[in-house]
Chain length 555, copies 2
């Protein structure tokens, strides 16, 4: 095939009016709020169906590498494969942040012949959801600084304001800033910083809320900082949860689009997977469950990170169970996990594969630990050799785990029908899904369980700061919630350089933060960056638009 | 009548599908990109018509006061009155910024029975235009700081970066900040600050561009700062004008909505009237001119500020002439200009009116100075007395200027038919529109002319800094463009406390800045705030949304 970019392939694809897609999905026309011809927001109050009859297929992965694994591509391709097999299927995905699109080539709309459309609009401004979240987040920040400025009735300690501003941009210069400078008309001076929008607790809240009223309640619970007496201050005390929910009243509605093969897709919400829980909105997943017999959805990064959080946070709060887990792997990523440098990935190297496959082995074990049978999707690359492919396929057979060589990038749904059929086998069996822990387990024991059982580590080290925070969380009675682990995506451990299947490591928890809006306790490990930077030559310099609004350089 | 809020009145209004409004306006259905049922973006390439046959009615005003004059209300009401008289009319308005909506009660969608719908969506996030402008502005800021971080090939002096970040929020703590703190991974430290989005040069550029290609060209010309050698650095040198135009490809399309009486309305663009030129987009005005026999449009603040800039910037760049000028005045504002405090406005006070009417007198003279005959719209308030009304009506008759007592707030278009008929008289006459100056006049003489002829001052004082900047602007050959005056809206002078018709004053120009993207030189006078703050009790605390997404407390 010719070397077309993802954007060129998408531009050649036939796209159908979104009303037709809604018909296919069983969404009544009066539930649609059009955003142009090919995108719509869905009024979920007008969607009917029985969620409990739907099967949920979770697409997770081995630990990602800079080589790229194509998890979104496989998620879309698998849904298209079900569609090809004439199943009633929907796919539920995260929406891309705009900032990273400007930075490094690559988006979150799949690739090749397994993409969602219109890719350009989904990657830029998509129905305003991220902008609304940014606005609500920053309105709250303005209300806080305004409160400090006008007498500070709540006695907020400016040094203990934890609520940060956000921007949907990769902007390292905003990581650490001083605000309120320049004298008495310019606010109260304090240290501050911007995160990228997807790291906002508002995003996590939106993705875990069941409706607008629940959203408002959760927002009211958000802790924005502490008083001089070290007591927590919430959004509810500022009395602005109504205004913030109002700003989000459209953003909370899931967005209907389509895959290149006309499979209905709900794309909604996209919390950072290393700092937040990393899954599309519960509202989108549950709306898809009402409508489709099979819902294909993804989570961020590997089974250790996004996977564990899907099981222990999203599925728990949504009160549903995944019925099958797909683990995306590539020969390139396996080789990198076996010690090969990115520049050497073009060369066949079965020895490295043998070393690296231990990483996949742990992810297979993890899926089974949650009581759900995995299917390995070996996402094919042109540079892979038959010897390498056969090694992985044979290994899977030896391990007794289903595996399918998928070619959805090249062939769309047709390249994934074998994978779909294997997933159908799993869906035909009874699974025994269980959470890793119950929420009434003490926080430190929940983390211990995650580290030892899911990461394969020896234990947890809590810094003095984390210990102090743990005591405070327990004192306030905030501990009976899931833990949201913030950890590097590159390793099963908290050290991004430990590839493959490391052992004998301990994970250091350096901070514990009560995210009472989202309803979890955030455990920070390692050095997690919440505001990315741009590369020396941002992909923006290759972007352009013509007189008719046709873009180029997006991918 | 009952005391309903603007929002309650709007909620009771019948709203028609936007397709019907497009039909009425003569916009083909395939030019519509729906944003829900009641808003659409318009593909201007699919709109046909002869712009030259249309008459443009500009709604301007006397100097505004904290009492509020209702210019947007009169603009909408006048258009509805033409509609009632079965004229083919459209109204072109600025879109509201979201930030101020969170701060002080009041929006930019008119009031009472002269509003545009859906008011809630227009006031919040309206089709994403302001968010796209914010994003493009801040992407550029990130590209600049990224350039500084990665070797600074262009030799940009971090102390001379003039491009600021923006946010559509009233957030005083961001007025002056330090960015890039925290060490080498966090950018290059420098002083910075945020403006409100409507103050961004991107907004001015969008509002003066004729199409996407013109937009891109103008963006490339924006000066973002200076090198260590004090040479200008442009967006074009950073090679990101394509990416920024791409981010604006939807925002550049005008938005079609409707008034409460079904008059088609284009609402598009809203540059700050005291720091920028303060008019809706040229694209919206010219699209309306293609479609309607009469286009009613507004400009920011009084004839001295938004009015002068409409004539000398927008009409010049758009190569059209206003055919009539409406000057909105209220008895309350006239009394304030006559020295009455806001708290005493409820009392009849003809003496104060006599003193304050000198302000209106100057605005009448200003309209005639541009060769266009004004009509005074005396916007009626319930607290006005007949004696006061008669004083103003008689004064107008003595001055030989048309006047109409308008009651559009209470009665919609029916309350403005007399005004509309008087405007029709003016439209039936030949006008002699002329710009105040030609662009080849030296910058200081252009400003001198504006100050002496439009403001009624004695002359201009240039600070040493402004003189130095003037020399630089001339040296670079950037002087042959209109001047955009940044001045307080409250006074004809640069001192907001000088009400009525001050004389014997000089205006101090403290800075001159080449806005080569927008295509004007900005002249800063007085202390113009480019980032508002929130009041002690922001209106946000009164806002809420219910389970069905119905809002309250917006107005």
């Amino acid at each position: 095939m010719a070397h077309l970019t993802d954007q060129e392939i998408a531009a050649k694809a036939e796209i159908r009016p979104i009303q037709d897609i809604a018909d296919k999905a069983g969404i009544p026309q009066d539930a649609l709020e059009m955003y142009g011809k090919y995108k719509a927001k869905v009024d979920i109050h007008k969607v009917e169906g029985d969620e409990s009859k739907s099967k949920v297929v979770l697409v997770s992965a081995m630990n990602p590498t800079p080589a790229g694994e194509g998890k979104s591509t496989c998620t879309v391709g698998l849904a298209d494969a079900f569609n090809k097999l004439e199943k009633n299927v929907m796919v539920a995905l995260r929406e891309p942040a705009l900032g990273p699109v400007m930075g490094i080539k690559g988006g979150a709309t799949g690739g090749g012949h397994a993409q969602v459309l219109p890719m350009e609009e989904i990657n830029l401004h998509f129905n305003g959801d991220l902008h609304a979240i940014t606005t609500a987040n920053n309105a709250l920040a303005a209300f806080i600084d305004n409160h400090l400025h006008h007498g500070n009735k709540l006695n907020i300690d400016p040094r203990r304001v934890s609520w940060k501003r956000v921007m949907d941009m990769n902007d390292r210069a905003l990581r650490q800033i001083n605000v309120g400078l320049g004298g008495v008309t310019r606010g109260v001076p304090r240290e501050d910083g911007f995160d990228i929008t997807v790291a906002s607790e508002i995003m996590a809240v939106l993705c875990l809320a069941t409706d607008l009223i629940d959203l408002k309640k959760k927002i009211a619970n958000i802790i924005i900082g502490y008083t001089y007496d070290k007591e927590p201050v919430t959004v509810g005390q500022l009395e602005v949860e109504g205004a913030l929910a109002l700003l989000l009243k459209e953003a909370i509605k899931p967005n209907l689009v389509q895959t290149m093969e006309g499979t209905p897709a709900l794309i909604h919400g996209g919390p950072f997977a290393n700092i937040a829980h990393g899954c599309n909105s519960l509202i989108a997943t549950n709306t898809a469950r009402k409508l489709a017999d099979i819902v294909v959805t993804e989570c961020g990064f590997g089974s250790d990170l996004g996977g564990e959080k899907f099981m222990d946070i999203k599925a728990r709060k949504g009160n549903f169970a995944p019925d099958a887990i797909v683990l995306v792997a590539t020969i390139r990523a396996l080789k990198m996990n076996g010690g090969v440098a990115k520049s050497d990935l073009g060369e066949a190297n079965v020895e490295a594969l043998k070393a690296g496959i231990a990483n996949l082995e742990k992810h297979v074990e993890n899926a089974r630990k949650f009581g759900v049978e995995p299917v390995v999707a070996l996402n094919d690359f042109v540079t892979d050799t038959d010897e390498e492919r056969n090694f992985v396929l044979d290994w899977c057979k030896e391990q007794g785990v289903r595996v399918s060589l998928t070619k959805v990038w090249e062939h769309g749904g047709a390249g994934g029908t074998d994978l779909a059929e294997q997933v159908l086998e799993v869906l035909g069996q009874e699974q025994n899904f269980k959470h890793l822990y119950e929420t009434d387990l003490p926080i430190d024991q929940k983390i211990e369980k995650i580290v030892t059982e899911v990461y394969g580590g020896d234990g947890v080290i809590f810094t003095d700061k984390a210990k102090k925070q743990l005591a405070e969380i327990e004192r306030h009675g905030w501990a009976d919630v899931p833990v949201c682990m913030a950890k590097t995506q590159y390793s099963l451990s908290d050290d991004p350089s430990l590839l493959g299947r490391p052992s004998g490591f301990k994970v250091t928890v350096r901070e514990l933060i009560a995210k009472n809006g989202a309803g979890f306790v955030l455990a920070l490990t390692g050095d997690i960056m919440t505001m990315p930077g741009l590369p020396k030559v941002p992909s923006a310099v290759h972007m352009d638009v013509d007189a008719d609004g046709n873009s180029k350089g997006l991918f």
